[in-house]
Amino acid sequence: MVEFSMTHAWLVPLLPFLAFAVIVFLTRPWKMLSALVSVGAMAAGFVISAYAAYGVFTSHSLIEKSLEYSVRWFSMPGLNIDVGVKLDPTSAMMLFMVTLVASLIQIYSIGYMRGEKGFSTFFAYMSLFGASMLLLVISSNLLEMFVAWEGVGLCSYLLIGFYNHKISAREAAKKAFVTCRIADFGLLLGMLALQIIFGTLNITELGEKIANFELYTNAATLTLVAVLVFLGPIGKSGQFPLHVWLPDAMEGPTPVSALIHAATMVVAGVYLVGRMLFMFLEVPEAQQLVAVTGAFTALFAASIALTQREIKRILAYSTISQLGYMMLALGVGSLTASMFHLWTHAFFKALMFLAAGSVLTALHHKADIWEMGGLIKKMPVTGATFAVGGLAIAGIPPFAGFWSKDEILSLTLSGGHPVLFFMAALTAFLTAFYMWRLIFLAFFGKEKPENHPQESPPVMTVPLLILAFLSLVGGLVGTPWFPFWGEWIRFGEFHHAAPDYTVMILSVILGVIGIGLAYKMYVKDVSAEQRLAERFRPVYTLLYNKYYIDEIYMWFNHTLVDGAAKAMYLFDIYVVDGIFINGIGAITRDTGSALRVFQTGRLQNYALVFFLGVLAVAVILAITGPAPAGLVWGGVR
């Protein structure tokens, strides 16, 4: 079974794809059956992934040299593209994580989506998403990865716009797709450049060739290529300045937010940079850019999250912020820390989203946290699991988030980036604060009499409990004393750094202070935020309006893009068509009407002209014909 799973890893994305096809073409009218097909395919994928992961994590040879097999997708002279499977610890971990989280979220969705009109469609999309995401994970080729990359983008579009009868959902979906498309433009250019320079898009081959890139190109070009490739992740993983779509994406159903916009799809960018880390490590400037973008995004998104009121928006900014951490980790050159945070984040963020979904269902989609309160009394499981997630993200040991965040912080410091470390540490503090602000406001404090919350059914709470358990223990695989994680998932040599207690204690203190401050402001003295907001009105407004970045983009879109469009169109109508085409037409027509005088419409007139022509031809023939032999009258010579 282990052997089979490893050589048939392509089944993992294929099964959900087949589930998608089956649901679309066969089982759409039967809701429960569709859901079962979808969950079944994903669960089967999980089983295969688990076996494959077991296989990978027991064979040491795969750390240095991944298991690869492929088939030709298309080829022509000078361009051969394979699709294949690249199985190494990183992708095995991702396979395991994605199938696990996706299975849990799909099970949860059965409860969450109950009674929705597009129930089967939802599961079809979820399956398609699963297929694309898993293909992305096991891709051995950048183009193959790009196909999956766009596939997950498509599913994201479809699922954000799931309630497309709402204008906000429709616009959010469009925004997500177009924003990611802008980013993909860079990625596409980068891929084109890689293909042209190195003649391959196979990740392993690229790794070998880029290690000696001087043979093919110079460092400046490679830096440019790396920056272009990095554009893609900026969009997909919601990094500044292309993060704008992610908060809006919360228009989708909550399981979608949990699966796509927290646990899996948005980390695809991180994963891609991780896959291509060999390139970024060759060109320090590009690597620097990754680090700075990550750190800045982390801080920036956390600052926005401080003032938001909608529960899912806060979580979305938190996701952006955590993705910034992962990028930062990659930027300081650690695949290990980045993937570790990705792993733990998937559990606790999915957990929080699902818990938020549970809350939203209970409150009939009332999303403002100020209108909640005391929910933990009526919804103990949801509240408790959410709190577990909150502890994890705040970095309180022994929860999962502590270990991974700590590793990033200590690596940033030891990597010689004090400024970035400061930003990351500040973010850690802000994270603890805003997340517990949410928890205190929503789950503690006074109950609101107008709310009649009810605990969700087991089909929803069981996945919550499982995820809560994973959030609790998920980080134990990579503690500084037991570095199982770093031994397997790494780029380059394995260094076992000694535990850095300073950073560890600092990070715990920051987390505790953040939670304590939130407790003080939102449980003890509820009006504290009001007073702070009054005092720092401009800052508060700036943060509440997300630094006005959306407005700037809207302005850009409406004036520049639409203006250019209008200009081109008017040019087309009035210059190309108006002056040239219709001008030529008008000249022809006017000439025609001038010449119309000659057209009398009388047959005899035409016949007359016709005979004039005959005459002319005859005369010409008579003149140019054989010389006259003299006039002969009356006879034959």
Binding site: Q599, R602, L603, Q604, F611, L631, W633, G634, G635, V636
Partner: protein, 109 residues
Amino acid sequence: MINSLSLSIGITHFLVLSSLLFGIGLFGALAKRNAVMVLICIELMLNAVNINLVAFNKFVTPLAFIGQIWAIFVITVAAAEVGVGLAIIIAIYRNRLSVELDDFDWLKW
């Protein structure tokens, strides 16, 4: 130039005669207002052509009879043409109550 101006009648005489007849017919076809007259003048032109054919038959290929046979075909076609032509004129007349060609300028759009 007219080197053999004898009284003898040759092919040229017939050809000149037919040319003149053709010219008269052409003049009529181009200049008459009445559609029936145009048809009549076309018949004149066809007769001129037939004279040519028969003359050629006589002076050039007397044994092959090509000219005469061709002339018969011309007469056949002419008969058909007169029949159809007159039918058209009658049909037009029924619609327009006129056979004056000056009234018909439908070719002008």
